[in-house]
């Protein structure tokens, strides 16, 4: 046991970081609407993301209705179907998951968990949200624009994205989509600067990097990646906008559309794909890393045990973050790029499986010899592990270049990425909301409604996406409004599709219970107290709950230990808060690695 300070806690040297000057809101408007408080901004981000996510949820019902019962719903034309899938995908990936994890959880948790009063640039942080809101509104406007929203698929591949054969290609749809993305990226960059610099500069005294909870590690690394990856999407969007509006030929080769020679010439659709996936693959981890971090903390807290292999978890997050920049072309094995790239990208892709697997082992090993409380956050964390392991393993099919050849562009891919970056991170989002709602509102979420929500969502989502892999194995391509019964099928997929659709509708409606619970518990929920889960991290140690603007009252917290002192032998309780100054007795805190033979 190394006690790094000989001083008693009474003589803590003065903080090196001066206390930040806070902007003090003067009116209702600046307190609740144009607020510079990261916690209010977090709730604004989350509310907007969930609202637009509900639109995407409804779109998924519509497309599932078409797939499950083709020909029954006349209003779902192929045009409409493609618009539904495009907007569903884009909203879910960018406007919901990215915004909710980084804009929502990032804003709420970073200052609280690192012991800061607020983000370091609150004004820029506020701007970030309002630009995000404008981006969402522009996206919504495209639904009402003449020609409707774009139906180019969420990947927006040119040339079809900007041609007449695609819904919205020659009308406003694609233009509004690109403008909205550009705005989103500008807004996100403003927020992202805050998240990164707050972790770098705003940490409380004693909060070394290796004492940070894994939630912060996940969000921090994901934000760094997003700051470097989103510019690729920005470049791709701006160049495509030029092609569409000004007639340049960045991505547009000489082509003949419906018998008519167009004036484009010489461009390269593959160039767009490289730029898109240079953003698109890190994007997967931009969503996954915060989920990894949060779920580590949920498991540790609710199993009353330190996260197993903390150092390895941190290194794995950083390694995954770096590696994910050199795997992008595994989305392009059959794109027509030079086939020799396949060797390189298959290797890098499968290498990234190793640190990811280590994370999974460590979550499960944290449960081993734990004291597992089967609370709702814990249940959702377990559901996350199941769906993530499932989706991660199917990734080994698609990452291994030659296995990808028959499976790419089939429903197998759709099932894979929904499992791994749809269902799994959403499980974490739910777990996180059940976990932190008491801190945000001071009330517990209703347990009965939560149980109902959990069981339908977990088993339902698995019932949607597990069988979907087999639709892809049969050979059904993705983005087909109906497949019919072609001869190659070993069995018709109609019934399976109908089953998936019904499961999707049921799961979708269960989310309404969750939303109702959010509002119901606000008023009728049980009082939570400051630290209902008896957790160690700083956000649970605020003097008041919910924490006010400025978070900490008069005195900033001082951190004395890492974030995972659960069930420490000899300690009176089964957790020691990070800001608990009690000196540890060396007997009470043995070094377990020293006890074992090396």
């Amino acid at each position: 046991m190394v006690d790094v300070t000989p001083q008693s806690d009474g003589t803590v040297p003065p903080a090196e970081v001066p206390d930040v000057e806070l902007y003090h809101p003067r009116s209702w408007w600046t307190t609740y609407v144009f607020s510079q408080d990261a916690k209010v901004i977090a709730i604004q981000y989350s509310g907007t993301a969930i609202a637009i996510g509900l639109v995407a949820l409804v779109l998924s019902w519509l497309m599932r209705l078409q797939l499950g019962f083709p020909g029954t719903f006349d209003f779902i034309t192929p045009e409409a179907y493609y618009q539904f899938i495009t907007m569903h995908g884009m909203i879910m990936v960018i406007y919901l998951l990215t915004a909710l994890f980084l804009g929502g959880f990032g804003n709420y948790l970073i200052p609280l968990m690192v012991g800061a009063r607020d983000m370091v640039f609150p004004y820029v942080n506020m701007l970030s949200y309002w630009i995000y809101l404008v981006a969402v509104l522009v996206l919504v406007v495209s639904f009402f624009a003449p020609g409707g929203p774009t139906g180019a698929g969420w990947t927006l591949y040119p040339p079809q994205a900007i041609l007449g054969g695609t819904p919205g290609g020659q009308s406003w749809g694609i233009i509004l989509m690109l403008v909205s993305l550009i705005l989103f990226i500008i807004g996100f960059t403003m927020g992202g600067l805050n998240y990164v610099v707050t972790v770098l500069q705003g940490r409380a005294r004693g909060m070394t990097l290796m004492r940070m909870p894994l939630t912060i590690w996940g969000i921090f690394t994901a934000t760094v990646m997003a700051l470097l990856a989103f510019p690729a999407l920005f470049v791709a969007c701006v160049m495509m906008l030029f092609d569409r509006v000004l007639g340049t030929s960045f991505f547009m080769p000489a082509l003949v559309e419906m018998g008519e020679q167009l004036s484009y010439g010489g461009g390269s659709p593959i160039l767009f794909q490289h730029l898109f996936w240079f953003f698109g693959h890190p994007e997967v981890y931009i969503v996954a890393l915060p989920a990894f971090g949060i779920v580590s903390d949920l498991i540790s807290t609710h199993a009353r045990k330190n996260i197993f292999g903390y150092r390895m978890m941190v290194w794995a997050i950083v390694i995954i973050g770096a590696l994910s920049f050199v795997v992008w072309a595994h989305h392009m094995y059959v794109s027509g790029m030079h086939p020799w790239f396949g060797f390189f990208f298959a290797t890098t892709t499968l290498i990234i499986a190793v640190p990811t697997a280590i994370k999974v082992y460590n979550w499960v090993l944290t449960l081993w010899r734990g004291d597992i409380h089967l609370t709702l956050p814990m249940l959702f964390a377990l559901a996350f592990i199941v769906t993530f392991v499932n989706g991660g393993l199917t990734g080994l099919f698609l990452g291994n270049v030659v296995v990808d050849v028959p499976l790419s562009d089939t429903m197998f891919v759709v099932a894979h990425f929904h499992m791994v970056m749809g269902v799994a991170p959403i499980m974490v989002i739910f777990g996180a909301i059940y976990h932190w709602y008491p801190k945000i509102t001071g009330k517990m979420l209703n347990e009965a409604m939560g149980q109902f929500h959990f069981w339908i969502t977990f088993l339902g989502a698995y019932a949607i996406f597990f069988p979907m892999h087999y639709v892809g194995l049969v050979g059904v391509p993705r983005r087909y409004p109906e497949i019919g019964e072609p001869a190659f099928m070993t069995a018709p997929v109609d019934n399976l599709n109908a089953f998936i659709t019904i499961a999707a509708l049921v799961v979708g409606f269960a989310q309404m219970v969750f939303l109702f619970n959010l509002f119901w518990s606000l008023r009728f929920g049980r009082d939570a107290g400051g630290n209902p889960w008896r957790a160690t991290t700083l956000e649970w140690q605020t003097p008041t709950t919910p924490p006010p603007h400025g978070n900490w009252g008069d005195k900033l917290p001082v951190v004395y230990r890492w974030a995972y002192d659960y069930s420490v032998p000899g300690a009176p309780e089964d957790f020691i808060a990070q800001n608990d100054p009690r000196p540890q007795h060396s007997a009470a805190h043995p070094d377990p690695s020293a006890a074992r033979p090396a």
Binding site: P78, G267, G336, A353, A357, R369, D371, A487, S567, P592
Partner: protein, 281 residues
């Protein structure tokens, strides 16, 4: 406790579904059975890992669920266990990657004796071009595409004159001969996808992409487009027939060549066409 049952149920249910599923990949009709083997290896490895991880988790939840007075162990890390797990994972990953890369090596190495066959996609139909007697495909350019010349074949290239042009028709191929599919698009991205052949590749306007395979079964196989190409994407279908070696030449003879297709329309220019046709022999 329900969660323990649920976790076990998920594993057992997934395995049972996998075993009983009538939904399976279609019987192969090309030489790429190696791809299927790699797929099966991957299924086994990943299936075992999935079952092991989830069942172990279920056991942990069952065994270490909260009981009054219980206290968790304090165990920050175990270097030995983590190293061991890392090594095992790396070996498993290598066991999937190695055969994958080996087969990919074959996939990208086109045999020398492969016949070139061109597929030309457009919204939303399939066209094909076979080399004529000279065994070579003529040059093409999307700029030359017109009503009379739907594939954009260069009329000045003598090699193109005897090319067999199949516009919106079905493709026939002889069994047992390796084919190099040259893929071209005149408008947007498409993807030539025949589930029975396993191989597929995008077609990119302005580029010629390719893959190769050897048909191993006669019969009719459906062609689908596997890359979103606009509203007609889901209906962009066609057929490839694999003929016996006896039937194939008789089919081929009936198909029009580029010279034949363009000649009747070039009224009064028979003199210019004649020498080119002669040169192509």
């Amino acid at each position: 406790m329900a969660i323990v049952l649920a976790l076990v149920l998920v594993v057992v249910g997934s395995i049972v579904f996998h075993m009983l599923s009538p939904w399976w990949w279609t019987p192969i009709a090309s030489n790429w059975s190696y791809i299927d083997h790699t797929l099966v290896i991957t299924f086994w490895i990943t299936g075992v890992v999935f079952a092991a991880v989830v069942l172990f988790m279920a056991y942990c939840v069952y065994r270490f669920r909260h009981k009054e007075g219980a206290k968790a162990a304090y165990e920050p890390e175990s270097k030995r266990l983590e190293t061991w797990l890392t090594v095992v994972t790396a070996v498993g990953v290598a066991a999937m990657l190695a055969p994958g890369l080996y087969v990919w090596g074959q996939f990208v190495t086109v045999p020398k004796d492969a016949t070139e066959v061109e597929v030309v996609a457009q919204q939303w139909q399939w066209n094909y071009r076979l080399p004529g007697e000279d065994g070579r495909l003529g040059k093409t350019d999307n700029r030359l595409v017109s009503f009379e010349n739907p594939l954009g074949i260069d009329p000045d290239d003598p090699a193109g004159q005897d090319d067999v042009v199949l516009e919106a028709a079905d493709l026939h191929l002889p069994i047992g001969k390796p084919v190099k599919m040259m893929l071209r698009s005149i408008d947007v991205l498409h993807d030539f996808y025949v589930p029975e052949f396993r191989a597929k590749m995008d077609m990119v306007p302005g580029m010629v992409t390719y893959f190769w395979f050897t048909p191993t079964k006669t019969g009719t196989f459906e062609v689908l487009c596997a890359e979103l190409c606009g509203v007609g994407h889901g209906f962009m279908r066609g057929y490839v027939m694999i003929d016996t070696e006896e039937n194939y030449p008789s089919w081929l003879e009936e198909q029009p060549t580029f010279a034949e297709l363009s000649a009747p329309r070039q009224v009064g220019s028979a003199e210019t066409v004649e020498p080119e046709g002669a040169g192509a022999q």
